[in-house]
């Protein structure tokens, strides 16, 4: 990745993302305030109030209504935007399925946050991972710049005639929404060239009356689902293609579906998503200087889940440790379960161990990463624990 440092500005992550949304020119924005998403929509409201952004901004009674407003706006031919997190995303759950089922190419930034109870406003990724099956594409950003760039890319992916699938751009709450860091804000004109105006395939129009949202009986329902499934498979190539087109226009590239760090000769590979990657890279730098062959695989696209790309990227690993900020209570956790499934029918035989860490905003430190790598190295000789909670405070249990 390269940055033109001359255009870099130190801004809050939420402002940077709101600026990116402005560059995407949504017709309708509808959102309900919830920490830590608030700064994104406050910034957008101000941009509309100042005439910087020509969008209809609807303040609504709930997250449920926020996303529902966009269903109507999209059916009437508009480009829609929302943002939420945690409890808000959960309240939207029914609408999430509806949006993807109606093939509405909406984009939403999810400022990832823990789910209650107990109430907790800090970061983890339980909210979005819990919504992995709702039919939306999910892109996870490592830092603010990626959150910005992925937001623009998301519309291009979502609105593609072959895809027509909504996209969640997931960015860790507080860690990325409230941090001030140097960012290259998008150039409006370049963004317009990259993302043309929205061309809806179907629209509510009295001159050509169409029925949206009919009910499907058992003789047709499966085929609706299959078409969504197929579109997400097609999105695998589209996400990569859009990432490359973005590189051509803006000079930045982070991998489309996946990205590697010291992956080529890595024996121990950490697989993860989101902002913890910065810490892991620091840990890898230190361990590499000590001669340890540790590498990282970043999962940028969690849905669609890039099975083939994962097999290719991880075929030479000796052991894999998955770190993720979610837990599938009663099972293991989202990413590790999916990753193991991706390998089961392949010829690759590699031990995979999973760690749930950073729940409810708990820090994941370089020391923690070293600990995980040590456990992974031990697992090469035989897995003792397939899945565990990192740094469990047993003294308060």
């Amino acid at each position: 990745m390269s940055n033109n440092t001359a255009n870099m500005k130190v801004v809050e992550g939420s402002y940077a993302v709101a600026h990116a949304v402005m560059c995407c020119r949504p017709d309708v924005i509808s959102a309900y305030p919830i920490t830590p998403q608030t700064h994104i929509v406050e910034n957008l409201s101000q941009m509309v109030a100042d005439g910087e952004l020509d969008s209809e901004f609807l303040t609504v009674d709930s997250e449920f209504s926020a996303l529902s407003v966009l269903v109507g706006a999209c059916a009437a031919g508009g480009r829609g935007y929302s943002s939420t997190t945690s409890q808000g995303l959960a309240l939207m759950y029914e609408v999430l399925y509806n949006v993807s089922g109606l093939r509405m190419p909406l984009v939403m930034n999810v400022a990832n946050r823990a789910m209650g109870a107990p109430l907790n406003i800090w970061n983890d990724q339980q909210d979005a991972i819990g919504a992995r099956d709702v039919g939306w594409i999910q892109i996870y950003a490592e830092n603010v710049q990626e959150s910005v760039d992925a937001t623009l890319q998301a519309y291009k992916i979502a609105e593609d005639a072959q895809i027509r699938t909504p996209v969640m751009v997931c960015m860790d709450g507080f860690v990325l929404t409230h941090v001030y860091e140097p960012v290259e804000l998008l150039d409006k004109q370049k963004a317009r060239e990259f993302l043309p105006d929205y061309q809806p395939a179907d629209i509510l129009d009295p001159a050509h009356p169409k029925t949206f949202g009919a009910f499907a009986d058992p003789s047709t329902y499966t085929e609706f689902r299959y078409q969504q499934f197929e579109a997400q498979i097609k999105a695998l190539a589209k996400i990569e293609q859009v990432a490359r087109e973005f590189e051509d226009s803006f000079g930045r590239y982070y991998g489309g579906l996946l990205d590697g760090y010291f992956l080529d000769d890595a024996e121990v590979v950490i697989v993860t998503l989101g902002s913890v990657i910065g810490t892991i890279k620091d840990a890898i730098d230190a361990m590499r200087s000590e001669g340890k062959k540790v590498g990282l695989l970043k999962v940028r696209s969690y849905r669609p889940f890039p099975v083939q790309a994962l097999r290719k990227a991880l075929k030479d690993a000796s052991v894999i440790a998955v770190i993720e900020k979610d837990v599938a209570i009663g099972g293991e956790a989202g990413l590790v379960t999916d990753l193991k499934a991706a390998f089961y029918n392949s010829s690759i035989r590699v031990p995979i161990i999973g760690f749930t860490a950073g729940l409810g905003g708990r820090d994941i430190t370089v020391k923690d990463i070293r600990k995980i790598v040590a456990k992974a190295e031990a697992a090469r000789k035989g897995i003792e624990s397939e899945f565990e909670f990192l740094n469990l405070r047993t003294e308060i249990l």
Binding site: S65, A73, D205, P206
Partner: protein, 291 residues
């Protein structure tokens, strides 16, 4: 009259007031109209994919979000400079209960949307369960009459008053038995520069259990007994009341319906009948229904 904008061939029951109500609404609104409907009988009977009875553009999203979805349609039409009617048509379940938050938001934001509730006074699509609109003492599958029950223990929620409390500039009640009145109200509502709400009494043959041929008579009796006053509010003021020429006893209305039959079987239900009668009399006095 031109061809109806709700095509025949839909799956509504014979004797159902809903399609008649919708046809009257669409006749008045005309083809330059977009309809948004919540989940319910209307949606399932008119849109079995790949068929549709709708000759105007129609959107269904979910049970509880028609008002939010219609809000999105309305702002987008305005943005595109289109002068098209946006009409929500939903049943009482979505209107009175599950969609209340979304309805409140739409009313409060002041969208130019006509909300028509075809009110059949229970969750008919799922099998006649009680809704917030179910009248006092009506038998439903979740407020059954029995040795310890005399049907629905609570009175009907006053939804027009809730709309009025939001400052909705045009609020009316109507009935499928009074088509001229209903069409006039729809036309008037569509002239309002803001939200409007019309609640139409629409008998349900399976839920109320009556003879299919008596649907219109039944709806007329609801009005003539004083239980369903036909009212019209503009800017919060009551401006129109349909007078009753020859008031009918409530028993005449109730006796035609299976959902009230327990009231006539048990002597201990006499006071229930008395309470219903008192409700009708209160309406007559409050709205001066009888000259």
């Amino acid at each position: 009259m031109d061809k109806s904008l709700l095509a025949p061939g839909h799956r509504a029951c014979a004797g159902c007031a809903m399609p008649t109500t919708i046809r009257l609404v669409l006749d008045a609104a005309g083809p330059n109209t977009i309809v948004v409907s919540p989940t319910g009988c209307l949606e399932v009977t008119t849109t079995p994919f790949p068929e549709s009875s709708w000759c105007v553009p129609w959107l269904h999203s979910l049970f509880e979000n028609a008002s939010a979805a219609a809000s999105g349609v309305e702002v987008m039409l305005k943005r595109r400079g289109k002068d098209t009617n946006v009409v929500i048509i939903g049943g009482d379940g979505s209107t009175f209960d599950i969609g209340m938050g979304s309805n409140s938001g739409m009313f409060e934001r002041g969208h130019k949307i006509l909300y028509v509730c075809y009110d059949n006074e229970a969750y008919m699509n799922t099998g006649v369960q009680r809704s917030g609109s179910t009248p006092f003492s009506a038998h439903t599958t979740t407020t059954p009459s029995g040795s310890q029950s005399r049907g629905n223990p609570r009175p009907k929620k006053d939804m027009p008053a809730i709309a009025l409390a939001h400052g909705v500039p045009y609020v009316a009640t109507a009935s499928v038995a009074y088509p001229v009145d209903l069409r006039r109200k729809v036309k008037k509502a569509l002239q309002v520069n803001g939200p409007s709400y019309i609640q139409v009494n629409a008998p349900c043959i399976t839920g109320w259990t009556f003879d299919a041929g008596t649907m219109i008579e039944l709806a007329r009796l609801a009005v003539e007994s004083g239980l369903w006053p036909l009212l019209e509010y503009e800017s919060g003021e009551l401006v129109g009341v349909k007078k009753i020429r020859r008031p009918k006893p409530v028993e005449e209305y109730l006796k035609l319906q299976g959902r009230y039959k327990h009231l006539f079987k048990k002597t201990e239900c006499a006071d229930v009948l008395g309470q219903i009668k008192a409700m009708a009399e209160a309406n007559m006095a409050k709205y001066n229904l009888v000259d």
